[in-house]
Symmetry: C2
DNA sequence: CCTTCACAAATCGTATATCATTTGAAATAC
DNA sequence: GTATTTCAAATGATATACGATTTGTGAAGG
């Protein structure tokens, strides 16, 4: 009887709301109302908040409380940079284990992405993008690095809601780069080459976003780089 | 009046004991006795345990409890690999900001390490090693990556107690490699070169430990790679 | 009008108490 | 003798209660 503990329920609820943007950065997580809404005492809620804190989704101050982590202008950049690092490594470490089957799946996903370029849906494109890369990094034999990749992607979910604006021109490039990365894997290129290609792929997206953000400078100066 | 919360006290106590090896891997962290020892209720202890869980120091099972995380044979390898990745990147990202002063400090520390090679004290050598690298990566402008480096070093503290055996021959090499990394920084070499040098430096230590471990195979087969 | 102090409301921090679950051991059946 | 069931002890999970800290507000003083 796989009962979900209350602390777990509270954790999921708050995490979902943060990731969906319903709890915006700066929103104060007050124990009592949340506990009341979930019909539980404050104790499990408190525990859940500490978990969110450990993951960096919320900040916490003794005797004051928790709030959804604020996003500094540089947050998007740092997160993407970190994701580029760990995802590049994960992709490279996984590459020797990638089977023809997996390559085929990745190709299929990338074709869907290519097709979707005409009737463009950023949301859907991003989903497929994660799927594509997941095929390439999920078999990474180092669980620590793999975990860091997952955390990075989760953090991106939050940032996208508050700061990420899609750069249309980048999508086409992105799909093409996917093909190149796949080719390197098929060719059993040196792992360092695969790592750098996967890394630069993501850094390329970062650069595109930063460039777009720079060109928009002055217009509605929000706290996020590409608001 | 900077009061330390009880939850924080409990956290520090348990973390210190895990890192010092007093709580060995597999040790069960039972709430009541720990709370009694610290003269507090179980609530703060519980919270502290969840923090340790989030950091990977303890594992947790609902309705069963927590125990100090078990160390699989591959744990040392994966942790070092991850540390090589993030420390290499942090060192490279920090390198443009390194001043002549910092280079001088690093050189001084490395000289102490070189001197200590004669009357060899592994404990002291490891401390100096952290100091040396800290000078090189602490100014990394990406706080996420820097945080990962700190976590990696902390994790190493635990692993060293249970699994790390010093490889004497490696120390000399290590000190020499430090000089080479410093030279690359002084020369303003391409950051990718610095990154790879710093990464390979750590991977070199990993290889040395694994090699020693392999040569000892069969002798007291412990759960750790270099027990 | 500004500053400072005192007080009250909001909220967090922790203790105590109770309920729920797991686990192992004893008893029973086969 | 082994397998199954039952039950009790250990322990975790959560609720409730209360004390502690912070923070805002308004009054008093300058």
């Amino acid at each position: 009887m796989a009962t979900i503990s209350k602390s777990e329920q509270a954790y999921r609820l708050m995490r979902d709301r943060i990731e969906s943007g319903r709890y915006v950065p700066g929103y104060r997580l007050v124990l009592a109302p949340i506990a009341a809404e979930l019909e539980m005492s404050v104790v499990p809620v408190r525990e859940a908040i500490r978990r969110l804190e450990a993951e960096g989704l919320v900040t916490f101050e003794t005797n004051v409380g928790a709030q959804v982590a604020l996003i500094k202008e540089t947050e998007y950049q740092h997160t993407m940079q970190t994701l580029a690092l760990v995802e590049g490594s994960a992709t490279a470490l996984a590459s020797p284990t990638i089977t023809a089957d997996q390559v085929e799946r990745a190709r299929a996903i990338n074709e869907l992405m290519r097709e979707s370029l005409s009737h463009f849906d950023p949301q859907r494109f991003t989903e497929l993008n994660l799927e594509f890369h997941s095929v390439l990094f999920e078999t990474c034999p180092n669980p620590h690095i793999l975990d860091l990749v997952h955390r990075g992607w989760n953090r991106m979910k939050v940032l996208r809601n508050s700061s990420f604006s899609f750069v249309p021109g980048r999508a086409q490039e992105s799909v093409d780069e996917h093909d190149r990365i796949l080719q390197l894997i098929v060719d059993h290129a040196p792992t360092i080459e695969i790592e750098i290609a996967a890394r630069n792929h993501r850094l390329g997206t970062l650069d595109a976003v930063l460039a777009q953000s720079a060109s928009r400078q002055g217009e509605a100066r929000a706290q996020a780089p590409a608001a």
